[in-house]
Symmetry: C2
Subunit: 330 residues, 2 copies
């Protein structure tokens, strides 16, 4: 069987591909383990760093319906749809966000529907679908009330995925991810970019600016746990989801101030001092509209696991992504 | 100022136009009453029965973006977007529902955005946006979990309208309508068509089939109150809506059995006997996925009024739409 990963050249896409290559199988109908013969990494840029013969890269625009029809064929049993315009960029360029986050998602669902064999489609959604007047811990039954165009576009994607599943066009699963922290690499245009930057840059000996107030709550998940969650979300039987295909994956609730305190505990005061506090009203408004925590009972019942605490998240980053792990650890 | 009504040849569109002609004004920025100079009725068929010089009809496909750009100009202060593919038809023809309920709604919002002066847009939504495991009375904060393609498409429209409003492209308002009963005229392809048919047809001396079980709850609003609600929803200042532009308009909760009992009280046993019970599993499944009632406190606080009870709804139909009112009333 083939697996398609959109956004396959991105950090999560490459890491997911690596994990799937290591694993070698994904569940199919009837709960059977199916061997992965090919992983197609579709992205606007080539996915680099793979030598495994099972990996094929397709470079192109995800909003190109013809390209999507070529990328999804009769053997494409599973699709992980990770490609997206991130929150800050979707807010700055409304039309680009609509074209990629809505139109391309819909074109992908149409390609899957057209394939005729009801592929499993895992769609990543976000804390940004929530907003407005929220309780401290958001129950599953809470109305989606996004206060950013990114959140609106993800919420539209969720609705499509649910209805395409209900109609039997696909077998969809929506994984609502907490903010992923600590991402390796460079800052991006997500409003939540700081949630990785204020840990990653200081650990690399660089300064980093925190654009939200020290008291602003964030809801975080390590890349390691996110990848495990995407694979479990794929492998669960359709019946496990009930009337909604969306699951809120477990996170860790911390304030920006607590994140820096954890950095100090794990990597020392000198490292933690590299965080500068400089509020950006636009970013703080978007981030503060997101839930600081949501109810994780449904996810736990389905077998999803989060991180123990933010100290563990920093340690996971050091183990998985930081070259000089032993030097940094106190 | 000009008013555009999409679905202007339909029953609600024509009735709204009539009411606006009688009224002569709508609120504009700063709460001012603005004189209505023109009402444009856009629909796939010509809107008939108007002799008022202020009425102009445009016949065309609502999904034609060029047509929409012509229909919305610098003087179009207000848009009532009523055109839709109804629930039963959207379930039977997924692509048609997407084209009209999603793509045309988006094209209309784009035409309004392109006009550049932030027109007021009133969008009608539906009980069908709710579904799944619902409490007996649905609070405003409840997640939209549509179990029909129509409901999904309306929920997408709501998300778009909210974000276009937040971005300042339009000044949108979403009126979530209970099932409208009693509609005059012929049965349509809505799953809820029976909620008018089992009253209207017997009052016309005809038999009517009820496709849901006598115990199935429905949440109803008379056309009279619906029109009042659309106009109030238009006239409220934007600030009244808070973080969500959607308002659940007040309804009356009755079972199908209670509807027929009310018909007997209002029009006699002979009339009520014209209802035949013949369950249609598809229709009953869709209708049963909708809320039987929702919390109306927000609507009441904003000034929206519903009907007193279902007997009043039947009497309102007789007064407004039935030729032989005096003959029917007991």
């Amino acid at each position: 069987m083939k697996v398609l990963i959109t956004g396959g050249a991105g950090f999560l896409g490459r890491r997911l591909a690596g994990k799937l290559l290591e694993r070698g199988t994904l569940k199919g109908p009837g709960g059977r383990d199916n061997a992965i013969d090919e992983i197609v990494l579709l992205d606007i840029a080539p996915a680099e760093g793979f030598s495994d013969a099972r990996v094929r890269t397709i470079v192109g625009d995800i909003s190109d319906a013809a390209l999507l029809r070529r990328a999804v064929d009769r053997d494409t049993a599973s699709v992980f749809h990770l490609a997206a315009i991130v929150s800050g960029q979707a807010e700055a360029d409304f039309d680009l966000g609509m074209r990629i986050n809505v139109d391309a998602s819909r074109a992908l669902l149409e390609a899957c529907r057209g394939a005729g064999h009801k592929p499993r489609v895992v769609f990543t959604s976000s804390v940004a679908v929530y907003g407005g007047d929220l309780p401290a811990t958001v129950p599953d039954s809470t109305a989606l009330n996004p206060q950013s165009s990114y959140g609106m576009q993800k919420a539209v994607g969720e609705l499509l995925l649910n209805d395409y599943s209900r109609k039997g066009f696909i077998d969809g699963r929506v994984m609502r991810l907490p903010t992923i922290s600590v991402r390796p690499g460079k800052p991006n245009k997500a409003a939540s970019s700081f949630a990785s930057g204020i840990i990653r840059e200081p650990l690399n000996g660089e300064e980093s600016t925190c654009p939200v107030a020290p008291g602003t709550r964030v809801w975080l998940l390590s890349p390691r746990r996110a990848i495990e969650g995407l694979i479990l979300g794929h492998d669960l039987p359709a019946e496990a989801f009930g009337s909604s295909r969306a699951v809120n994956l477990p996170g860790v609730c911390v304030t920006a101030g607590e994140m820096v305190a954890a950095l100090k505990r794990v990597a020392g005061a000198e490292t933690a001092k590299r965080v500068r506090w400089e509020r950006d009203a636009t970013i703080d408004r978007i981030v503060s509209s997101w839930p600081g925590a949501w109810d994780t009972r449904r996810a736990a019942a389905l077998g999803f696991a989060g991180d123990a605490d933010f100290d563990s998240i920093i340690r996971a980053y050091l183990e998985d992504d930081h070259k000089d792990y032993q030097m940094v650890m106190r």
